[in-house]
C-alpha cells in the first residue's frame, strides 16, 4: 500500500465525520454589487419555534423584534412563560433575561449563536463566488464565519452556514415566501443532534 494511503483515508474519514465543506473553493467575486442586508435574515415577527435535542422536543413562540438598540429574540412557551430574552447588535449578543435553570454557558452560547445566525444584523461581508453562486462571508470571531448562500440573485437567500475556513458546523436552511423574503428557517448542527425549526406565524389582521 502506498505510504500516503493511510493518511489520505484518515483525511477522508475526518472530512466525512466533520462535514468538510467547499469553503476553500470560494473565491473573491469579480462583481461586488451584492451586499449583506435585511433580506439575508429572518424579518421581525412571531415564529413557532421547535427544538429537537437528542430525544427531547420543546416548542414555543419566538418573537424577533427590531428596537433602536438591536434585534430582540424572546422565547416563551405556548402558555406565555418566558425562557429567555436576547439582544443582538451587529456581531454582538447579550442576555437580557434567562431562566436561572437555563443560565449555563453552553446553553446560552448555542442559542445565541444559532438564533443570531438567522436573525441578527451583520457588519459588511466579503463577497465570494462558488459553484452555487454568490456567497457573502462575515467574520464571527477568530475561528468562525457565517456564509450566506444567495445563488445567482443576491437577494435570494437559500441558506446560511456557520463554520471555520474548511469545516461546516451548523447549517440553516431558509425558505422564502412568494415575494422572495425569508420566512422559515431550519437550523441543524453537524456535530451533534440538535435542530431548531422556526416557522413564521400568520398574524391576525386587526
Amino acid at each position: 500500500m502506498a505510504r500516503w494511503t493511510i493518511p489520505f483515508l484518515a483525511l477522508i474519514s475526518l472530512c466525512t465525520a466533520t462535514s468538510c465543506s467547499s469553503y476553500r473553493a470560494l473565491k473573491p467575486a469579480t462583481s461586488t454589487t451584492c451586499t449583506l442586508s435585511d433580506v439575508h435574515r429572518l424579518p421581525q415577527g412571531q415564529y413557532v419555534m421547535q427544538i429537537d435535542i437528542f430525544n427531547k422536543h420543546i416548542s414555543g413562540l419566538m418573537l424577533f423584534k427590531e428596537t433602536p438598540t438591536g434585534t430582540r429574540a424572546v422565547f416563551t412557551n405556548e402558555m406565555g412563560f418566558k425562557f429567555f430574552d436576547f439582544e443582538f447588535g451587529k456581531d454582538s449578543a447579550r442576555t437580557v433575561f434567562i431562566l436561572p435553570r437555563m443560565n449555563k454557558k453552553l446553553i446560552v452560547q448555542t442559542f445565541q449563536n444559532d438564533l443570531g445566525m438567522v436573525a441578527a444584523p451583520r457588519k459588511q461581508a466579503d463577497v465570494l463566488q462558488g459553484k452555487e453562486g454568490t456567497v457573502l462571508r462575515s467574520k464571527l470571531n477568530e475561528k468562525d464565519f457565517l456564509y450566506h448562500y444567495t445563488g445567482a440573485d443576491c437577494n435570494a437567500l437559500t441558506r446560511i452556514e456557520r463554520g471555520g475556513k474548511a469545516k461546516r458546523k451548523v447549517v440553516a436552511t431558509i425558505e422564502r415566501d412568494a415575494q422572495g423574503k425569508p420566512f422559515n428557517a431550519t437550523i441543524k448542527h453537524k456535530l451533534f443532534n440538535f435542530k431548531i425549526k422556526l416557522t413564521k406565524v400568520e398574524e391576525e389582521a386587526n
Binding site: 413557532v48 422536543h57 418573537l63 424572546v74 412563560f81 437580557v96 406565524v201 391576525e204
Partner: protein, 211 residues
C-alpha cells in the same frame, strides 16, 4: 410649611390608593368568603369556554395574543386547545399530561416531575376554584360588586422560581373563573380571559384522552 405638609399628605394618599386594588376592597376577615367560594366551586362539575391569552412582555411593550377553547371536567381533567395563531394542545387527566404541537406529541406523568406536578395542580385548582386550600400560596381576597379577586403569592419552592404572583378573578354570580393573571419574576404577565362560558353542560370524556 403648609405646602410641604399638603404635598406629604397627597403622597401618603397616593401610596395608600396604589396599595389597594382599583375597584376592589380588601376583605380582612375572609373566612365567610372562603366558605362561599368553596361551596360555589363545588357546584361546578364541567366548564366549556373560549379563551383569549395575552402575553405582555414588559421590556418590549409588546403583546402576544392567542385564542382557543377550554374544557374542564371534575375531578382533574383540563383541556387547553390553542387555535390561533398557532396550534397547540395541552390535556391534563389526573397525573397524566399530553402536550401536542404541530409536529409532535409528548406525554408526561406528573408523579415523576415535581415542577410539572405543581403547575398541573395550579391549573386544575385555579379552574376548580379550590386554590384557596393550596399550601403552595399565601392568598388575599378582594371583592368588587360583581367579582372576587384572589391575589396569590407563591410560597412553594418550585413555583417561587417562576412566578411572583397569580391573580384569579371569580364571577360572583356563578363562582366561575373569568380571568387568570400570571406575573413572572421578570415583570412579564400572562392573562387568560374566559368567555362564552357554559357551566355543567355536556363535556365528552374523549376530549381528555392522553393517548
Amino acid at each position: 410649611m403648609k405646602n410641604t405638609a399638603f404635598l406629604f399628605l397627597l403622597t401618603i394618599l397616593a401610596y395608600t390608593t396604589q396599595a389597594q386594588r382599583a375597584g376592589f376592597t380588601y376583605i380582612k376577615d375572609d373566612a365567610a368568603v372562603r366558605q362561599k367560594l368553596s361551596a360555589g366551586s363545588k357546584a361546578i362539575n364541567a366548564i366549556k369556554a373560549d379563551f383569549t391569552q395575552e402575553k405582555e412582555l414588559s421590556m418590549l411593550s409588546e403583546k402576544i395574543t392567542s385564542k382557543g377553547a377550554f374544557f374542564f371536567k371534575k375531578e382533574n381533567k383540563v383541556r387547553l386547545e390553542y387555535k390561533t395563531p398557532f396550534k397547540y394542545l395541552m390535556v391534563i387527566n389526573g397525573s397524566k399530561v399530553l402536550i401536542k404541537d404541530d409536529s409532535k406529541s409528548t406525554k408526561y406523568d406528573t408523579h415523576n416531575n415535581k415542577i410539572f406536578k405543581q403547575v398541573n395542580d395550579l391549573i386544575v385548582s385555579s379552574v376548580q376554584g379550590t386554590i384557596l386550600n393550596s399550601p403552595d400560596f399565601k392568598v388575599k381576597i378582594y371583592e368588587s360588586s360583581g367579582q372576587y379577586l384572589l391575589e396569590m403569592v407563591p410560597v412553594a419552592k418550585g413555583l417561587k422560581e417562576f412566578f411572583s404572583g397569580i391573580n384569579i378573578l371569580i364571577d360572583k354570580k356563578d363562582y366561575s373563573v373569568s380571568r387568570l393573571e400570571m406575573v413572572e419574576l421578570s415583570g412579564d404577565k400572562t392573562i387568560i380571559s374566559f368567555s362564552n362560558k357554559e357551566l355543567n353542560g355536556k363535556v365528552d370524556d374523549t376530549l381528555f384522552s392522553t393517548n
